[in-house]
């Protein structure tokens, strides 16, 4: 039979040993490599990895309101409105340029499923992931965040992490 051999110590005692061990491990001070597996959240926090998809941040200047992100979102939770504006020409004497001005850029985080497609498709590097996660709201409607709020999160966006050995050079962001 492929079943394991009868253990020497009765399994009942071994089980008690495991729980006792864990208790000793938990009670051992953190400094000695012990401590509990949990952290006491509001007092101590774990840092999420750099790539963590916490919240989407928007760099408004880069956005051309091309709507690509809104269209490729699987549950259509990005709301964009924009209009065209005439901006002063780049070089003196040139014709005025037409630029897209963003009026509204809202993401409904109650709907968002954090898939990252919008960040990936944005051709102008306007969207970024930030590992920030503390933005829960008592009311679900308050999870609709506008472009100012999304812009504020830009500060929390980390540098892209270095890659593991053997990876090819990456292009872009």
């Amino acid at each position: 039979m492929a079943a394991p051999k009868k253990p020497q110590v009765p399994g009942l005692l071994k089980g008690l040993g495991v729980t006792l061990n864990t208790m000793a491990q938990t009670l051992k001070p953190r400094k000695l490599g012990g401590g509990s597996a949990t952290v006491q959240y509001p007092h101590e926090k774990e840092t999420p990895p750099l790539r963590a998809r916490g919240v989407i941040a928007l760099r408004e200047d880069n956005c051309t309101s091309c709507m690509l992100c809104a269209r490729s979102c699987p549950d259509w939770c990005i709301y964009i409105e924009g209009h065209k504006e005439l901006a002063p020409p780049r070089r003196a004497g040139g014709a005025p340029r037409k630029v897209n001005k963003l009026d509204r850029f809202d993401i409904d985080y109650a709907l968002c499923m954090y898939c990252g497609i919008c960040v990936e498709v944005c051709p102008f590097d306007a969207l970024f992931w930030s590992p920030e996660y503390e933005y829960s709201e008592p009311k679900i409607a308050d999870l609709l965040h506008d472009k100012t709020k999304l812009g504020e999160w830009m500060e929390t966006v980390p540098e892209a992490p270095a890659l593991e050995a053997g990876a090819e050079k990456k292009k872009g962001k």
Partner: protein, 390 residues
């Protein structure tokens, strides 16, 4: 005179009726019990209707669909990248593993193959999600049998695996990391070293579970010889994964199929158990978790360098055709039959998820068992609601 005869007749009838009543009473009336849709043992909203005689089940039927989310329909109005984001919610504990067969099917239609480094990383993440999934099963098994501690240990150590998945992909639960032609990104620096550490911890966790649960005489007496599924029946009901291997069928798609994944590059073993009982199913899973950590370790050592993305157009259109790819997911065989008409999205996707077939044996295997065994058998069959109801 007639009076008397009538009375006699009446008393005769009454006596007959009393006899009949007695007979009915002796044959105790059954009790119908709804286990679920809200029940601690159903991990969600599976409903199992059982008819009981005392504590013995005479008839049982699973009734699924309380959490149907219509994935097959949703895929019809989504583009291929969007579908990837959706499908990793099917078996939510082993989410990366859900993406792989779909992507492989799409790649098969487009006739491209991911570069070796991408295949390696895919396989590693695949196995990591298996560890996260089955590791939690081992703990949850304890809860189903009344031991409260194992599940916390399972959560503790699954956390390490989830941290790894998050570190590499950005998503703890729903990585959405697989792309047609490769992967979204390469691994961040330091990930390999960390993974090796975690794999050591998980092997330690497996030993702990062996001591705390599997070696426990009470645990064994609860599971041994309970819910025996012979190999023949298992095949007839379309079981797959550990449930099938526990019945002694040596069948593992990771080994038996040549897919662009790195399983043939490592040295590993398919575990089987001849007994086919609940204990065998759980034991197989324990061994497989340990085996997975070894697979990951070996893959990390032999990881090739190079690109992680094949040449694919920026806007993905999958050429017309049909493809079926299935892989050995944590719960069993999971496959996608993708029909494409050359559009941005699939025309039709048929999803074969393992749990749906695995619980179809419930009416057969539950007949004649006791209520406590209903729970242990359901636990050992191991299903995930999202995987049943899609």
């Amino acid at each position: 005179m007639t009076d008397l005869a009538d009375r006699q007749k009446l008393s005769y009838i009454a006596a007959q009726a009393a006899d009949a009543r007695l007979n009915v009473e002796l044959e105790t009336e059954g009790m119908t019990l709804n286990i679920g849709p809200q029940h601690p043992a159903t991990h969600g909203t599976l409903r199992i209707i059982v008819r009981l005689d005392g504590e013995q089940v005479v008839w049982a039927e699973p009734s699924a669909g309380y959490m149907h989310r219509g994935y097959e329909k949703l895929t019809e109005v989504r583009t291929f990248p969007q579908v990837t984001a959706l499908v990793n919610r099917i078996d939510w504990l082993g989410s990366f593993a859900n993406e792989v067969p779909f992507i492989l099917a799409a790649e098969k239609l487009m006739e491209i193959e991911a570069p070796p480094r991408a295949q390696w990383i895919r396989t590693i993440l695949f196995e990591l999600s298996r560890i996260a999934n089955v590791g939690l099963f081992l703990g949850d098994l304890g809860v189903q049998l009344g031991a409260v501690t194992p599940v916390f240990m399972a959560f503790r150590d699954r956390e390490h695996v989830l941290n790894l998945i998050e570190g590499a992909t950005g998503g703890r639960f729903h990585p959405n990391f697989d792309r047609i032609g490769g992967l979204k990104d390469d691994l961040p620096a330091g990930w390999i070293a960390e993974t090796k550490q975690v794999m050591k911890k998980l092997r330690n966790f497996c030993t702990e579970m062996e001591d705390l649960l599997f070696g426990n005489e009470i645990f064994q007496s609860r599971l041994r010889g309970i819910g025996v599924i012979p190999a023949e029946v298992a095949k007839q009901y379309g079981l797959s994964g550990a449930n099938l291997r526990a019945s002694g069928v040596d069948w593992d798609l990771r080994r038996d199929q040549s897919l662009p994944l790195a399983y043939d590059k490592v040295d590993w073993k398919v575990w089987t158990h001849p007994d086919g009982d609940s204990f065998a199913r759980c034991w197989i899973r324990l061994q497989e978790t340990r085996e997975s950590t070894l697979i990951v370790d070996q893959l990390l050592d032999t990881m090739p360098s190079g690109p992680i993305m094949a040449k694919v157009p920026r806007i993905i259109k999958v050429p017309e055709g049909e493809a079926w790819v299935s892989t050995e997911n944590p719960l069993g065989e999971m496959g996608y039959y993708v029909v494409s008409k050359g559009d941005l999205g699939p025309f039709r996707v048929k999803i074969r998820s393992a749990s749906f077939n695995n619980i179809s044996i419930v009416p057969w295997v539950l007949r004649g068992v006791y209520v406590p065994d209903v729970i242990s058998i359901l636990a050992s069959l191991y299903f995930i609601l999202g995987d049943i109801d899609r």
